[in-house]
Amino acid sequence: MSEGPEGKTARREVLDPDWEVALRAGQDEDGHAGSVEDELAIVHLFRHAAAPESLGDAAFDRIWADVEAEIAPAPWWKKLIGWRVAGPALAVAAAAVVVVIVWPREPLPEPKPDTIATAELPTESTADLLAAQFEILAPAARDDIAQTVDAGRGALRNDLIALAVSSSRPSGAEGDGKTVGGAP
C-alpha cells in the first residue's frame, strides 16, 4: 500500500519543476561547480514523454528561422567573395606589398637642368610622350656616338703615327745616298 504513494512521490520529485529549482540552488551553493545541464536535459525529455508539450506557431517559426539560417544555400556573390575573389585578391595584395614595399628599387637618375620641364610633366600628349621616350633612349645613343668618336680618334692616331714613321724614314732607303729634306 505504501509503494504507490512512495513511487508517486519519487516520480513527482524528479518531474516536478521544483526539483529543477532545487538542483540549480544546490549548484549555486557549490559555487557553480560542475554542470547540471545533462541531468536537466534528461529530465526534460522524460517530462515531455510523460506529457508532450504543444509547440505553438510562434515558437515553431522561431526555431525554423534558426534552422533555415544554417541550411539555406549562400547567394552566388557570397560564394564568389568567399572563394574566387578573396583568394586572388589576397594574393594580389600580397604581391603588391612585396613589389611596392619590399622590392629594392634603384634611385631615379637626376634630370638635366634643361630637361626638368619635360621630364616631370605627365605624359598627357604625344609631345610629352615623345619627350619622355627621348629621355630614356638618349643616354645609350650618346654612348654609341662617344664610342664612334673614340674609334675615329684611334684611326686618326694611327694615321699620324704612320705619317710620322714614313716621314722619319730616309726616302733613299734603297741606298741612293740622299737624305730627307736634303739634310746632310
Binding site: 604625344t126 638618349a138 675615329g152 680618334r153 686618326l156
Partner: protein, 189 residues
Amino acid sequence: MTRLDAQRALGRLRGVAAIVASMLLGGVITVVGLAQAGRLAPARPDALVALGQLLDTEHQRVDLLMERGDVPQAIAALESLRAGPWPSVDDGGEASVQLRHDAYGRLVRLRIDNPKVDPKDADQLLAILDEGIGDEAALEPNPFTARLWALRGEVLEEMGRDDEALDAYEKALEINRMLLERELSGGDP
C-alpha cells in the same frame, strides 16, 4: 685519269667556285650596305673627332649655364654652334649627323620652353628644325632625329597644322619603335 674521274674533279671545282663567288658577293653587298648606311669609318675621322670634342665642351658649357639659370647665354651658345660649319655625312659619318641633330634638338627645346628669351615665332622655329633635320636620307634610327621630328610636331600643333603635326609625330614614334625593338632584340637588327 679516266673520264669519270675528270668529271668528278670538275664537279668539285664548280662547287668550290660557287662557294667563293657567294662569299665575294656577300662581302660586296655588306660593304655597299654599310657604306650606304654610313656605318663605315668616316672619310675624314679628324672631322668627326673635332666635332665630337667641340660639342662635348659646348654641351658642358650649356649645362653650367643652365645650372646658373642663365638661359639666354645657353641659347646663345647653342646658336653659335648652329652657325658653325657642320661636316657632311660623307666626311664625318653618320655620327656627325646625329651630333648635329642632338645640338639642334637641345636648342629648339630650350627655345620652346623659354619663349620670352630671344623670341622666335613658329615659322622661325620650323626653319631651325628643318635646317637641323637636313636632307640626309635613310639615317640609322636614333633618338636625336626622333626628337627633331617630335619638336617639329609640337611646333606644328601649336600652329594649328594638325595633319602635318600628326605626320611628324608618327615619324618620331616610328623611329622610337625601331629603337625599342632593337633594344629588345639585344642589338642591331
